[in-house]
Amino acid sequence: MLLPELEYARPDTLQEAVEALAGTRNARVLAGGQTLLNALKLRIVHPDLLVDVSRLEELRQIVEDEDGTLRLGAALTYDELAGDALVRARHPVTAAMTSRIVDRQVRARGTLGGNVCLGDPTSNFPPLLVALDARLVLRGPAGSRELPAERFYLAPYLTALEPGELLTEVLLPPLAAGEGVGYESLQVGTDSWALARASALVRVQEGRIAAARVVLGCGPVPTRQPAMEAALVGGPATREAIAEAARLAGEAFAPQADVHATAEYRIAMARVMARRAVIAATKEA
């Protein structure tokens, strides 16, 4: 299918990309294009200009800061992230999840930044990044700002990105001693999109859970679960205690019903995913 008429630009520097985005009223960022090209074919979006950022070196780095923070460039493909030795060593759950996104063709092209910025309720990265307390570096004409992933998602397909802004990096804080990550999805088929997702970051000390962040995915936005977190903290890191706490999952969580599942089923499965994610996280810790 022919795409609508549009201009394409591939700036050589991040600064030029930012200027192109800010200088054209209806410009869009193109990275891997694994969603955007379909949206163009379906005439869901009508940009005048595509700014291709996929080759910008500034967006393709993986750097570990002195404090252990991992800075991931937004234009890195899933393959590049999943295959990177540093990512695998520091964030093995993130690397493993990334290595199972969709299929080999999509993993060769799709990017971290595209996954994060689309704001699709079923996307893989959003609940994980909120659980990890990741920070997002957003670059606009006025400079860069940092935003916690938790405050980035406003509604389905709506993020805190301002017009003319571009995600440049995702910052993953280092995992402290005793911390573990869990990520669980209920998928229709192997590596497919999911009906329910949950991600957890827990710290285990002497057999007890000292801190927990639990996030549900596949709702309108990734949703923290404060009641479940509070029930976990101070309790033993046992299956029974975690299962009891997971009964509280589903707080402020309002997934849509669709042809694949009712809202009630999604909430019920989100509780199961939350329990499994926390159990997995305690094993990783």
């Binding site: 549009l6 394409y8 074919k41």
Partner: protein
């Protein structure tokens, strides 16, 4: 807003091409219409079926999900690169023929290119790895069993008992497959 035009330089199946493409032109259209390489098929045109899979800089990608302008400077391999026209099929193609890994054949170019990328990355993939590795390619005829077997055979990981394509009558095999000498591995497996 008018289309923008972009000069690109690509190497396709070892041959350098300089072209001018429209900003909105998809890579699959460039390959089929500009270069006349019709082996790359358009199936769903939405990134789901994988019939348009080609290898770009060593990675299998869906060419309906990439702009031609984005391929500038890249090295592209299409299904035409796997063997010479009218020449013997390569090892993977021969395995597809022996195992009846195609029926209508529409998905086959994409299957072959995904499997080619897979076999370069993994030396001896087992069934599970092959199924996962071909997940981006849909076949509506075969039920996948024979495709997986063919790739296993080409990879050398097919169990001895399953490696028996000898019952094929020459009439049922493709002329290329029947005329060309079978790879030594398969010959060794024949009873």
């Amino acid at each position: 807003m008018p289309d923008s035009a972009h000069p690109i330089e690509v190497v396709v199946n070892g041959e350098r091409h300089e072209s001018v493409v429209l900003g909105r032109q998809l890579l699959v259209h460039y390959l089929r219409e500009t270069l006349g390489l019709k082996g790359t098929h358009i199936g769903c045109d939405s990134g789901n079926c994988g019939a348009c899979t080609v290898i770009v800089d060593g990675k299998a990608v869906k060419s309906c999900m990439q702009l031609a302008a984005q391929a500038d400077g890249r090295e592209i391999e299409t299904v035409e690169s796997l063997s010479e026209p009218l020449g013997p099929p390569n090892r993977l193609q021969a395995a597809f023929t022996r195992h009846h890994a195609l029926q209508c054949g529409y998905c086959t170019p994409g299957m072959l290119m995904s499997a080619t990328a897979l076999l370069r990355e993994q030396e001896a993939p087992g069934e599970e790895q092959i199924r996962r590795g071909l997940k981006g390619n849909i076949c509506r005829c075969t039920g996948y069993v024979n495709i997986v077997r063919a790739v296993q055979d080409a990879a050398g990981t097919l169990a001895q008992g399953a490696r028996i394509p000898g019952e094929n009558s020459p009439r049922e095999s493709s002329p290329r497959g029947a005329d060309s000498p079978a790879p030594s591995r398969a010959a060794g497996a024949e009873r």
